[in-house]
Symmetry: D2
Amino acid sequence: MCGIVGIADAGGVSFSLYSALYALQHRGQESAGIATFDGAVLHKHKGQGLVSEVFDESLLASLEGSVGVGHVRYPTTGEKIPENIQPFNFRFRGKNIAVTHNGNLTNTADLKETFEKRGQIFCTTTDTEVIGNLIADELRISGGMEDAVLHCMRILKGSYSVVVMLDDVIWAFRDPLGIRPLCVGKLPNGHIVCSESVAVDALNGTFIRDVRPGELVRIDATGITFRQIAVADHPAHCVFEYIYFARADSVVDGRLVYDVRRHIGQALSENETICADLVSPVPDSGIAHAIGYSEASKIPYREGLIKNRYMGRTFIMPTQEARENAVRIKLNPVKGHVLDKSVVLVDDSIVRGTTSRRIIGLMREAGAAEVHMRIGSPALKAPCYLGVDMPTRKELIASDKSNEEVRKSIGASSLRHVSIEALISAIGMDKNDLCVGCLTGVYPLAIGCEQCSRRRVELIGGTYQSNLGVFKEVSEARTSTK
Amino acid sequence: MCGIVGIADAGGVSFSLYSALYALQHRGQESAGIATFDGAVLHKHKGQGLVSEVFDESLLASLEGSVGVGHVRYPTTGEKIPENIQPFNFRFRGKNIAVTHNGNLTNTADLKETFEKRGQIFCTTTDTEVIGNLIADELRISGGMEDAVLHCMRILKGSYSVVVMLDDVIWAFRDPLGIRPLCVGKLPNGHIVCSESVAVDALNGTFIRDVRPGELVRIDATGITFRQIAVADHPAHCVFEYIYFARADSVVDGRLVYDVRRHIGQALSENETICADLVSPVPDSGIAHAIGYSEASKIPYREGLIKNRYMGRTFIMPTQEARENAVRIKLNPVKGHVLDKSVVLVDDSIVRGTTSRRIIGLMREAGAAEVHMRIGSPALKAPCYLGVDMPTRKELIASDKSNEEVRKSIGASSLRHVSIEALISAIGMDKNDLCVGCLTGVYPLAIGCEQCSRRRVELIGGTYQSNLGVFKEVSEARTSTK
Amino acid sequence: MCGIVGIADAGGVSFSLYSALYALQHRGQESAGIATFDGAVLHKHKGQGLVSEVFDESLLASLEGSVGVGHVRYPTTGEKIPENIQPFNFRFRGKNIAVTHNGNLTNTADLKETFEKRGQIFCTTTDTEVIGNLIADELRISGGMEDAVLHCMRILKGSYSVVVMLDDVIWAFRDPLGIRPLCVGKLPNGHIVCSESVAVDALNGTFIRDVRPGELVRIDATGITFRQIAVADHPAHCVFEYIYFARADSVVDGRLVYDVRRHIGQALSENETICADLVSPVPDSGIAHAIGYSEASKIPYREGLIKNRYMGRTFIMPTQEARENAVRIKLNPVKGHVLDKSVVLVDDSIVRGTTSRRIIGLMREAGAAEVHMRIGSPALKAPCYLGVDMPTRKELIASDKSNEEVRKSIGASSLRHVSIEALISAIGMDKNDLCVGCLTGVYPLAIGCEQCSRRRVELIGGTYQSNLGVFKEVSEARTSTK
Amino acid sequence: MCGIVGIADAGGVSFSLYSALYALQHRGQESAGIATFDGAVLHKHKGQGLVSEVFDESLLASLEGSVGVGHVRYPTTGEKIPENIQPFNFRFRGKNIAVTHNGNLTNTADLKETFEKRGQIFCTTTDTEVIGNLIADELRISGGMEDAVLHCMRILKGSYSVVVMLDDVIWAFRDPLGIRPLCVGKLPNGHIVCSESVAVDALNGTFIRDVRPGELVRIDATGITFRQIAVADHPAHCVFEYIYFARADSVVDGRLVYDVRRHIGQALSENETICADLVSPVPDSGIAHAIGYSEASKIPYREGLIKNRYMGRTFIMPTQEARENAVRIKLNPVKGHVLDKSVVLVDDSIVRGTTSRRIIGLMREAGAAEVHMRIGSPALKAPCYLGVDMPTRKELIASDKSNEEVRKSIGASSLRHVSIEALISAIGMDKNDLCVGCLTGVYPLAIGCEQCSRRRVELIGGTYQSNLGVFKEVSEARTSTK
């Protein structure tokens, strides 16, 4: 997962991009980068670590220009090599280009092979370089980003919210299914396009609206324009953004994430028969769900676990055993709250079950009489191929275990997940407009042998006429041109 | 303010000290240090920054030994010079000594002058070096730490919880008024003495008890022993530890801090006449108070401000104006929660008023109809000389302003502080056993021209016979020997 | 200018590559990099700075594999961007490739344009990526490095000594004119190909021979093989390697550099009419020439300037004036040697004249009666387009000034350069086998509007049959196929 | 060994101190530090590493003030702890003091014990803190630096050149025997006192003269004054400064070091019976000696070993064997010069013999027929207690071996050292004015059980009247008061 942002602002963009990346830091902590264009030269700085670690004042001051893009990257299991840090930038026939991407392509290998057949080499192992090549490939023929994005939407499979700087213009587009979020805002002296609305808030801007699935946005000194490039019969917004990934204070595709989570918590409390003394979140991911649960159930909200606010990303211990025990440095159970009490413990999801098992263990060691685990997502049954870093099916504890088996495995007194229906109701969209692949194993586009509830996508726009030959075999699998 | 810890553990102490300092990181973020003794050599490492920044695995592995002390230091306005980073260590007549100190002496200048009169120089600008000198001064005559601590308790004025490593023994003592916290715990293979019980929890230890005011603790491979060195008629535990400083999950002098804060919140909700839609904390310091308020008032608890969990200690902005606006990178108001709503906003205290003013501004810009500020401490009227880094009287907004003047200044719809009585009741101690200097301007010991409600302290122990001459004039001001 | 190396050694290569780069450090101090291949994975590390700054023990230990390549890069005026640090590595159709290059192509822009015409993008601004693309372009068709190198020799214009790692084989080739040096050596357990023989010495290896112009070398676990790919009627070895660039203890194309310089110094002393007290080198570049001068002239060799051995690459001064005066921190005249003396001062070359002027100034301030400047190269009249970082014609002081004008400008008592004939005689080769472009303005291949004494190059090898179409227009300018 | 410097210059001193330390870097590479005083505040920065690594421009710009002192420290085997980095600075009774010291005290332990008896603690393990304490001890009584230095000269045993900043005045003094060098110079806007004259040269200053043994210098904005504090019947200048330690271009106690070494080389060539082809130095320490040898013997001077100019202080190798072989990365024999030749190899000294053995091995592997080792010092027979970091007597190869045994051990064809008489003659002083302890085992002051050729020292100055009592037993051992 990643966070992306593009800004056009006559007063300079580097400090604004930095602030926006700060607001999007939860979407990626492995690396960060910014590229700006000052009318003549592309400036950039990228590095491994948090935004606060990668940039300093003199670096930001040196990133001159009135347009720019930024990126934060998630520590996926893949290759943490310096070349992969985004923005991915290059010069092509006199133009300076920087590409940032949030999402995951499912046909990267095919596309790379097609390019390599004509002798092309790839300097990184990212999807983003493939997108950069596709754009360059089309720019050389038609010269325009509209056509290049049409080309992308014809060719690319998977999820992709993309922000591109092409000399002094910012272009942004969202895949036709709108899987990953993307929105635009008005700044005092310009415009911003970014993964989540919190980045607009951070700059004291005004939220305009979400970018529509299949839509292309153009931002520069003169303002903002929109153009629909492709239309799907149904979008496939990722439910996991609401459950866990997006910040609680973001508004994603029209819904305040905090309220979705609070409503999930309320739904979880319905039909409860247990009689608990307190509701406690697993911090920080379960807080909004737990508040909702407490509100609906009238069971007092009280923190049973206190999180250490100073945990660096590395906590050093000499042995594996010591590292595992270190959970109590990170999360300290409040004995005075849980001793001899029946606790409803609320978390957003269970992935491998390891963390839940440790936390419930902590609560029991602290004297909790009962630990009732309530989960703000349905059971995770299948992997995500569309941008959320989730383990394989085999590692997902619920993929082949019943609820009772999971309960025993994690040691809870009782275990309940929210139902898919209640989740969808809390989000407030039509079920067909969401991607629930990780919950059902049915994905909104064809991925290998997985089941698929395919959307129909139509491309819009008459100027498109270019290098179909090269990629014909790839593109037909998924799109049709009006 | 600082956090201190000492550990004796036959299995090695450096990783345990590191974990304990992690748990005490909230008590000081400027610098950190560890010193250990391996039977022959004192090992140490100190540096500026967070515990996670100062230490790495190879450093910790090199800090060998079965006893050690650690320290985290608060960014006071004073001198951030490398020499001042603790532990303060030195060799004296063949012994290796490392001293860590939490608190503030009020007679440092006098003591330094006395020492300088006999030709002594000071390498640091800390109180801790003075304590080190006093200990050495006495060790040279009587040779024992009991006498040295008796000497300290005779001479030192102010607050001091101290942990000393003297070769292979850990000694710890707390000033006769018990102003700063200190407690001891049993570890699987040893013992720990530390500022707060969360450090015992972090090591999966068992809390034994608080160190008594005026008490000396001795820890080594053979176990733990206690000895009372001085007794005061009343202690003077700092109320600000409960209001703000200590971690919510710590038990300080017998009280779970979280519950004290929750009870303060409950007390704040009594006799309210306003009709609010939600109770929101200022994160993170107002959370427990706000939960208590919500619980007692039945007004729903909902976060109106979301804190960015990734704020480094420096946030870079090119201008002062930009830096001030940066509060919205750190705290984002949740428009969906506060728009057109009447909000009870709960914080732990108001110091200069600047932060409250900005936060209330954020809430109003986000559309809050009313912002009722509720404060978990009585108005701060006077500075702290005893270890809390607080501004001068002039800078304290409540020192010369009425409640209504402060309300106007910060822009709240209404403003209420908890009363001193309610605070004391929430803590659950006798008023005479607490230091409320910052609330009343009356301190538990003589400090310059400030008012004083002096405690009577008696020194215990017959072996004491040493260098009274040198410090007689200093010591008589405060103690009497049986 | 750069230094390159490739090693195959069953016992591991990273520490050997590191030692070899140390020995080649004089060829480039801006950045350094190593790539190795362990049979499955390509490992690499690159960074800005000296070899000693870029690598540490754990990094080297992590660079596993029995083949590898390394590179040190010269601080050219061009783009110091991280992407440009070599080796340039990529994966192509399942193969791991790393390319290192010493030299300068003169048709990079043309080649890039050709590639961009078919939609290709470039991640770096180096010649090396172009070479990587050419190799990939050919590998995809014929699959073999022999053909790929034949393709390169057909297409590339300029100077290029190249070492490529293609999975577990090291391939190295030298342009048909042999402009930059390249040689091979036998190691205790493998083979090395490197820019200069000092790298063979550093590994206690045995020098085998120089790589022939137009020759391809293949090194792997099984041994070393050679294949002639192209043959020129005359090579064009760079004279500046002998004058300045190569290390004095290297043997380049059969000549010990130290002896070439000593013979230049001897030649300089012929027909002298001045009567000097001592001969002093400008350290370190003039030492061997000065020793030769002293030996032939019988004037005592004595250091009149002592170089500070601790000068970092940056010497900080607050103002430009202070920086210019800082020459005396770097070079200190020995007053006791030069006071009232007539000094013969020997340096390797004069570029802009700035340094000579400053040094002569230092000597005069120290009291030298006469400073007779003797230069180990003929006057530099024209720029180098083939890999030596030299200023433009305009900046070369001798390009438009007579010897007497230069003498006045630098303030010497007298000034003499070695003649081209004496230089060539000291090198001991045929004049037609050397590149003397910088001395005469006549280059061994066509470069823009410059004069050219073109060599005839014939390509060897029957299997070549591939993508001539694409690059036909480029290649015909320079080569013919038998 | 260390390098020290003090500067008073109305235009600011930090950049000048930095340049001076650069010039003195050969005297110490472990750490560096600067302290300045701006009339109100003492600024300082210290760190481990070379001057170029410890300071950057913003640090230097922040070291404000028109007086300051600096220090570079040698990597002795002792304690490399941050506290030990000089200048040693402290505040004492309102005054800011910074002390730098070159030399070694032989009664540190006694002095520390005396201070500890009165309860004093030491923060560092340096001699310098003892000197700081002595100065403070006296300042408190008499208030003046003249008396404090008189006190030091009465009490201190050993070698000590000291530069002290006391608020806005620089004080410097040299022990009564003048063991370590110290000199003063005039700068364009001020004055400098420093270990060697090269630091004066580096600042384009004018050398004034050496500080006399037992003399005190005072430098401030108003100028420079001198005062003789103690007078010895004979000084004891260290011969090793001439042989190895000082820079060749320094003038130490009236002698140009380069010329001393050249004369030593000339003396070495007398009465030679061997017939060699070339004279080669071991770079860099043997260069001046070898030039002298060549000049007198008429055997050509030619470098048989080329030193790698880029060796960092650490060269990484995975095994001890690999590290030992790494000598050939540092020093490369020039096969073309030495093959089948008889070589006179000149070095400054032989300590353990290890390096000589390796270098002679390199020469033989490179094909040298004969290697005649000529050494610019007499055989080292005894350790140095007075500031040169030399191994114990046991480790000195010549302490218990005959010349023939040493020759065999290092593998030379023949071995000759310069005689003590020739060394003294090359220096040009009276034998009684030099310290030749390391050559004869007879030292100029009493050190443990070593033999001693004691000097008589008289203290000058009537105002002295202070705390004789405290240190009487210590001081009587060495000085008498007129």
